[in-house]
Amino acid sequence: MSVMKPLRAVGIVGYGAYIPRFRLSTTEIDRIWHGGEALAPIREKAVAGLDEDTVTISIEAARNALARAGIAPSKLRAVWVGSESHPYAVKPSSAIVAEAIGATPETLGADWQFACKAGTEALQAAIALVGSGMADYALAIGADTAQGRPGDELEYTAAAGGAAYIVGPAEEALATLEGSYSYVTDMPDFWRRPMQRYPQHGGRFTGEPAYFAHTEAAVRALMEGLHIAPEEVTWAVFHQPNVRFPRRAAQELGFQPHHIAPGLLAEEIGNTYAGSALLGLSAVLDIAEPGQRILLVSFGSGAGSDAFLWRTTERIAERRSAAPFTRAYLARRTPIDYGTYVRYHGKLHMH
């Protein structure tokens, strides 16, 4: 199978990040639960405040993306939110976000779901919508306020944050799309049944056959299909459930540590699920020079990966200062203790 390319050339015309200000450290979780020391997957994770959720995170990320795009919100013909933590079971987050940013009423709206790749799935669809000529601009968001069962290894990393991307014509893009590829199998590495508060996962099974197999297959197919070698790529951004997984996948695919460094945020904010790879990309776009290739690859449990190859244009330098940089949100940091964390996330549900 070949690489996917739209009929009309498209690219990212605006992007925006959002990360809540609160941080919960691995050390603090260990103070309560013990046992996680050996895992020590990250230093700390970003935690949503009492008045924040996937909708509010999406709204701020989308406003930042609109500021960079410099287009009227009414020009968006799709507002798509990918998440596994939509505030309502039934009532689209996308409608609330679209209203808040001024994109209503002439727009598509839908919530996407595919664990941590819900946002990049929406991005593929946005590329298709604009690339087919049906729309000039489409907004794809990946955002989450992820939860792990108290004391579970997921609790160390499940974090909150998101990023938004406006896809538009290549002539207006900060980064044009060279091609994309998606790879999916029915993999039972992680799931959550309806009405259940916390997910189940396959423990060590989440690595080899899930994260690495899907991520690497998608990247190989994309790069071979486009005849691009790792040396021809300046930056590579992976889904980052921790720091270890993306580092190893990068190495196995022939990338060097300098390729992934600026887009690897997990040490500072944890795994923001649908926001994870997309926030990594926003951090890279904040610093990229014109003419550089950027590889983006997500991974969502269940399982699949979306891989994209972008190339920055001259417009990147002139547009990016129109909204706060990803680093500004990383720098805005208020540590909290476990008790405050429990309060911010409602009662302490053990099941």
Binding site: L50, D51, E99, A323, A331
Partner: protein, 135 residues
């Protein structure tokens, strides 16, 4: 919040959409279709920048129904750059960090949840201006 009032107020509540008076060109918020400054009809919707400064503030300990989970929280009167005064919660800031004249910006946050089964009401709050240049 009733369903009609949720729907009717959606734009002003979510994005601080007000009106502009065609006679004296002043911004009106909340929208009321009559200019409070010159008394003329003012029905043209207009976005506000969301930027302003803290005019006065107070810490609420005894929260009204629906807001209990957030107490204690800060409520401020914000003077918007375009002129109108708006009463709203402050967020992402602790009481000892707030001062009169502090520059703030509008964000859309969760205002309250109507129990476990009801609506989630989102709306404007203000936070200290984000230091956007940090890189």
């Amino acid at each position: 919040m009733t369903i009609p009032s949720y729907w009717r107020t959606r734009r002003q509540r979510l994005s601080l959409e007000g009106e502009i008076c065609p006679h004296c060109r002043r911004h009106v918020f909340p929208p009321r279709d009559i200019c409070p400054y010159c008394g003329g009809p003012a029905k043209a919707a207009a976005s506000l920048s969301g930027r302003g400064t803290v005019y006065s503030f107070s810490l609420v300990h005894n929260a009204p129904a629906g807001f209990e989970p957030y107490a204690p929280y800060l409520v401020a009167i914000v003077k918007l750059d375009e002129g109108p005064l708006v009463t709203a919660q402050l967020t992402d800031v602790s009481p000892d960090e707030v001062s009169i004249g502090m520059p703030v910006e509008m964000v859309t946050r969760k205002l309250r949840e109507e129990g476990e089964e009801g609506l989630i009401v989102y709306g404007y709050k203000f936070r200290p201006l984000l230091q956007a240049e940090a890189l």
